[in-house]
Each structure stands twice: as structure tokens, then as C-alpha cells.
């Protein structure tokens, strides 16, 4: 009789548990997933070239060999006794902050700036053939960034700097 009671109690517990579990099975659910991605190219390669250094003038051209467009700025240093003047025929170079000349347009990949001319104006009177002078050109490039409206801008805190020294008369 005692065994019979235990079996009945166990059956009762199982039945109650079954009654509780039942509703959990009834829920309708579904799901769908999708994903995607894209690589980011941040590398930037620019070079400076001086196709012509003559008549106390440097002709500076910056080439963009990287995978994306960039902005460019440049400036030059010389001994204190020399006065440097900047000019260009394209109208794209203009003076701006931090002593740099800024190229107005982004330079697309594979393209180059127009020439920036950097000239020593006060040529020493006693200069002789073979004398050399030293002018260091520093230029920086930075990737073209876009604001939320898609307008391009430059952030010069994220720039790549290249220094170029040398000169001749």
C-alpha cells in the first residue's frame, strides 16, 4: 500500500510538471540575419619632385601615388640671410596657417599639383659659379575627409610630413 502511495505521488508530480511545460512549446518565433563589410584604405604615398632647380628658384611638384585623394601643403626654409618668395602660375597655391602654402584642391590618386615656385630674392653680390645654397622644402599631405554633408575637408593633425633639402645656384 505504501509503495502504491509513493507511485501515485510521483505520478502527480510528473503530471503537474507536464501541465506547466506545455505552453512553452507553443510560441512562434523566427529570425533572419545578414552581414556585410568593406575594407578601409588609409595608406597614403606622396612624393615631391623638383623638375627644375635653376635661377635661384625651386619648382616644387607633389605627386599623389597613394590609393586615395589627399590635400597638400608646403613651405621652405633657408639661411636667415636669404629671403624666400613663393609664386605659382596656376593660382591653386595660397598662403595659410603655420607658414605653409596650401594647395586649394584635393590631389586625386595618380595626379600631381601644379608647380609651386620658391625663389631666393636677395642673391648675394659676391656669389661665384659653383657656390651652393641650401633650401629645405617641407611638405605635408593628409587624406581628404568628408563631413556629414559629404563636403571634403582637411585635418592637418593627421598629416604625413616629408622634408626635402638641397639647392644650387
Amino acid at each position: 500500500m505504501k509503495k502504491f502511495n509513493i507511485i501515485l505521488v510521483a505520478l502527480s508530480v510528473v503530471l503537474v510538471l507536464c501541465a506547466a511545460v506545455g505552453p512553452v512549446w507553443a510560441y512562434f518565433t523566427t529570425y533572419v540575419t545578414a552581414k556585410g563589410g568593406m575594407p578601409v584604405r588609409m595608406g597614403m604615398t606622396t612624393t615631391v619632385s623638383e623638375p627644375d632647380v635653376s635661377k635661384w628658384t625651386k619648382h616644387v611638384v607633389v605627386n599623389n601615388q597613394g590609393p586615395e585623394s589627399c590635400y597638400v601643403r608646403a613651405k621652405a626654409f633657408a639661411a636667415p640671410e636669404f629671403v624666400l618668395t613663393y609664386s605659382d602660375q596656376s593660382g591653386f597655391w595660397s598662403p595659410g596657417g603655420e607658414g605653409y602654402y596650401y594647395y586649394a584642391q584635393p590631389v586625386a590618386k595618380g595626379e600631381a599639383t601644379s608647380e609651386l615656385l620658391i625663389k631666393i630674392d636677395n642673391i648675394p653680390a659676391d656669389v661665384r659659379d659653383g657656390d651652393s645654397f641650401n633650401v629645405a622644402v617641407v611638405y605635408e599631405s593628409t587624406p581628404v575627409l568628408y563631413d556629414e554633408n559629404g563636403e571634403p575637408y582637411a585635418d592637418w593633425t593627421q598629416s604625413v610630413t616629408i622634408e626635402n633639402e638641397g639647392g644650387q645656384n
Partner: protein, 261 residues
Amino acid sequence: MTERKKQKSSVVTVILFALAVLLLLFGTVGGIRAALTYFSQTYSSRLSTLNIGITLNENGVPVGRRDYDSDGKWKEETGELLTNMLSEGEELVVGKAYDEALTVTNSGSIDEYVRVTIYKYWMDQNGKRTNLSPDLIHLNLTNDGWIRDDLYSTKANDSRYKERTVLYYTKPLAVGETTTALSDKLSIDSSIGTKVRQETKTENGYTTITTIYDYDGVQFCVEAEADGVQTHNAKDAILSAWGRNVEISDDGTLSLVKEGE
């Protein structure tokens, strides 16, 4: 124990057992009633079945769906996100905001509540780059009809769920309806340009300072999972299916119950 007491104990046990049987029967009857309601609609109109379904859309175009068909079979289509983000030949521009409107359509035949879980992360050829920040992948959330589950989403200064954002659509989604967009724009933070190291090289009178970008060549990834659950007995269904306590108001609006964080 006297014989009388033994008899009394047996009677009590039998009564309890009978009660348990009755409880189970009532539970079953409830289920049968639900089943009858469920199937009677099918019976009255053989063209209509009660199937749950969900479709994820990107900029108005379906990119994936999973709809119950019949006999345990599902109609499934899986697509990719971001495939139309750039036009042919166009390259990704850091900082630029691209259209990325994600919506969900109820492609089943019963109303449902939906939620979407967004994952953002960086990858390279060796797999996931956990040292690069998902925060720099900006998916702009509209907060229009969607609420963020802060308990299971990325928190500031908390590495748990760093890649994840969980959003609940607050209204029941009727058959054939589409939610409001949970996001509208996607952009990569231009500050990735500041995550750099520099190398200096001098050669032939040229000193070159090369900036190497941490994020150069890595791929950003966005993953979206849309879940649907029946509106009938929604509170219990959501707790059971998604493990989340919610409140459902009289007009069907869903809200999240604050739990210990």
C-alpha cells in the same frame, strides 16, 4: 498506524492524484482550445495559414527573410549588407555618411513583435580584430519607434557586449507592415586617421616620415539579426524566446523592464 488511519491516508493520496489528473486535463483542454482557435481559422479559409515570417530590408530592398512555410519547412533567403553602398569604381571615403536604412517587414501571416541586434566589428585576413574599436563604425540610430536595450548593448567603459546593440520595435508589427527605419546613415569615424605610428627614413637628402595607419587594409563589418515572436501571450513568449522581461500595455506598446545591471 491503525488500519483506519492507513485507509484515510490512501484516500487522500488518491484524491491528490485525481486532482493532478484534472489539472493536466484542464491544461490540455486549454491547449486544445487554443489549437481549435488556431486551426479553426485555417479550416474556415483554407487559403490562410498561421505562419510567422520576417524580412530584413536595407534601404528599402529585402536582404534576407525567413518565413515558415508548412510541415516544418521554412522559406529562407540570405543576402548581404552594404553591397550597394558604393557605386561601381567608387572607393570608401572615411568620414562620409552613407545611406543605411534598416527596416523589418512582417512577411508572415500573424502579427509579431520584432527586435534587431546589430554587431559591429573589424576583421582582417586573420579574423576578427578585437583590438580595434567598434565605436568607430557609426551606425546612426533614429530612435524612431525603436528602443535600445541598454542592459544587453554596448556601454561606455564596459567591455561586455562591446560590439552589440539590441533594439526593440515598440509596436506590434501587423502582417505585411514594415517598421520605421532603425538607422539612417553609416560612416567610419575619421579619427581612425589618428591611430597611427610613424617611421622615419633619410635617403639621398630626403627625409621621409611615413605614417602607418592601424586601420589601413582592415575591413569593417556590420551584422544585423532580426527576430520575430508572436504577439499572442507576448510577454511570456518574449521571455521564453528572447530571455527578456517586457511589459505590454493595453494598446500593445512594448517596454523593457529594468533588471539588475
